[in-house]
Amino acid sequence: MKVIKIDKKEWTGGIDKSREKYLLFGPVKDKDVTNKEHYIFKKLAAGEFPVMEGVDTVLSPKSVIFPQTEKILKSSLDQSQPDHHIMKRVENDYSSRAVIGIRSFDAKALTLVNLNFDTKDYQDPYWCDAYKATTFVGLAVNKPSDVDFSTSMGSGPFGEEGLDVLLVDNGEEFLAKVITDKGKTFLDAAGFNKTADESAVKKIEDLKAQAEKTIADKAKVGTDNLKNKTVLDLYEAPFWDDIAFSCINCGTCTFVCPTCWCFDIQDETKGKSCTRFKNWDSCMFPLFTLHGSGHNPRGVKTQRVRQRFMHKLKYFLDKYDKGTMCVGCGRCVQSCPVNIDIREVCNIMNNYEPKK
């Protein structure tokens, strides 16, 4: 596999050059009016560069492909118009874009969401168009955070799934592993074309082994038995009430999650125009499954908490046989107000033996 060497002094120049052909997205520091700082993924304005120090963002970059609120259809309510009340697709910009500095686990997460939105029978046009238009330029994680357990979940700090390029920070330079043609096209557009020598591959492997060891040294999350458990045994297991006790049923875990794909459809009208939106929804909200009849099949919080973990760690695994629907980014562990830790829940599920 080809490795390109990028001198950090040439980085900003190359990024600027790539803007001629790509809309860029990346992590930037945001400061609110009370001076609280966060890193967020956003579209980069001219002159704005992604932070490449391996920062953790509260939210995942899924919003680049799947915005929290997305306008999808519109229609006119003006009966004098021939096409009144006919919903038409909103014209969105799907020109080439690149996400710079996305983590390996986030790129992997998007491939999992893709399984849901791009199937043989149905293709969500909004997702598919955005996903196809995007080049993913990943940044390997040299120093994994304390909550990173991606190696247990089929990804890893240097994982390549879903990425087009993987950048590895090597002091004065980035070593760019070219994974797809799409990735090569981006690097060409940025003018990054100095092939690294043989030692680069070895260097990347060393850094990778080091990063993976950092994660492995911490508690391991077991997923090996999940596949052989029966759904009903786990569903009816006695531990759900205890896990759910502290849950306040907010949407934090699902909104920070890179693989949560559920959405809700809302229509809004103003005057004679109507717009249909797609909004992120959360299985933690009671409204999520409320039927028109007033009946709610997941009316109490234990059922909702169980749904979240069962979907991620069991239903998805059974349906697609592509591992769990958790990539181990640790964002929900970090952000949950009541410290419900998916690593613990996963281990409990993985080790559960029903009483015969």
Binding site: D30, V33, P67, C250, G251, N279, V333, N339, I340
Partner: protein, 283 residues
């Protein structure tokens, strides 16, 4: 082990053994540094999981709403005030509760463990106002010269500056509703933002809809908020949501001489009529 943690476990274990309560609600150690999780012990063995430290930032009164069992609950100053609110608002009865009071010297800021969190720095009710037993001797209450200096700073701004301040505060809100759900006051079966027939508020990331949620949620807390800070402890985006409720707390104090949750025999001011109520606003 910390003597307060020891004492809490001892009391909790005793009341479970004696059958005075069916469960005790407290805090257990979290899985990452500087966190705790609300925890319910049903057996004397489980009380060994209880801890007490500077990170018990949530409000446990949130976990007793509408419960039917006999409950032991560990309460710092603000939790106890919200328990009073719950009793006054008929969300639980006093006889159901066995309150283990914990004098509190303030919780740590979630990003700077060496500093007090904002609301604890201006707290004047560190000792529980209602309890069945205290886990330690009361601590000295803070004397705060100007508890509402932050609110006054906003009041001094001109109207456009105020508006851009509030717009700026809410620009990162993701509508996860953690602030609302962590709040012991927010127990409505269906919140106005979740109501779908009629739908009062748009559900997308429209800034006016987000502002409407925060503005009205705050107003629903008028005369009830104890400034416990659970909303900010819960917010994943670190939004200063107390900026709204603090103003209402200041108004409650100035207009009605009222601080919420101090006395189970008194109705909150917006719940009662008094001929002396300020009425300058009515023409």
């Amino acid at each position: 082990m910390d003597s307060l943690t020891q004492k809490i476990r001892e009391i909790a274990s005793n009341i479970l053994k004696e059958g005075r309560v069916d469960m005790v609600i407290g805090f257990a150690k979290g899985t990452i540094p500087m966190t705790t999780k609300p925890y319910m012990a049903r057996t004397p063995e489980q009380v060994e999981n209880f801890i007490w430290d500077k990170n018990c930032t949530l409000n446990l009164a949130n976990y007793i709403t509408g419960r039917k069992e006999k409950i032991g609950i560990i309460a710092k100053g603000c939790d106890s005030r919200n328990i009073v609110n719950h009793i006054v608002e008929n969300k639980i009865s006093r006889d159901q509760l066995y309150i283990i009071g914990v004098p509190c010297s303030g919780m740590a800021d979630k990003h700077n463990p060496d500093e007090l969190r904002d609301n604890c720095a201006t707290c004047t009710h560190r000792n529980p106002v209602i309890f069945d037993v205290m886990a330690a001797e009361p601590v000295e209450e803070q004397k705060i010269d100007d508890p509402f200096a932050d609110v006054k700073a906003v009041e001094a701004m001109d109207k456009d500056a105020k508006w851009s301040y509030f717009e700026g505060l809410l620009q990162n809100c993701i509508r996860c509703y953690a602030c609302r759900n962590a709040c012991p006051l927010c127990y409505c079966p269906t919140c106005f933002v979740d109501e779908s027939g009629p739908q009062w508020v748009g559900k997308g990331q429209n800034k006016t809809d987000i502002q409407t949620f925060h503005f009205l949620r705050a107003f629903h807390c008028a005369g009830r908020c104890t400034d416990c800070g659970a909303c900010e402890a819960a917010c994943p985006m670190d939004i200063h949501v107390r900026a709204f409720t603090r103003k209402l707390n200041k108004d409650s104090l100035e207009l009605f001489g009222w601080e919420a949750g101090l006395d189970i025999t008194k109705r909150p001011p917006l719940d009662t009529f008094n001929p002396d109520d300020p009425n300058d606003f009515i023409k």
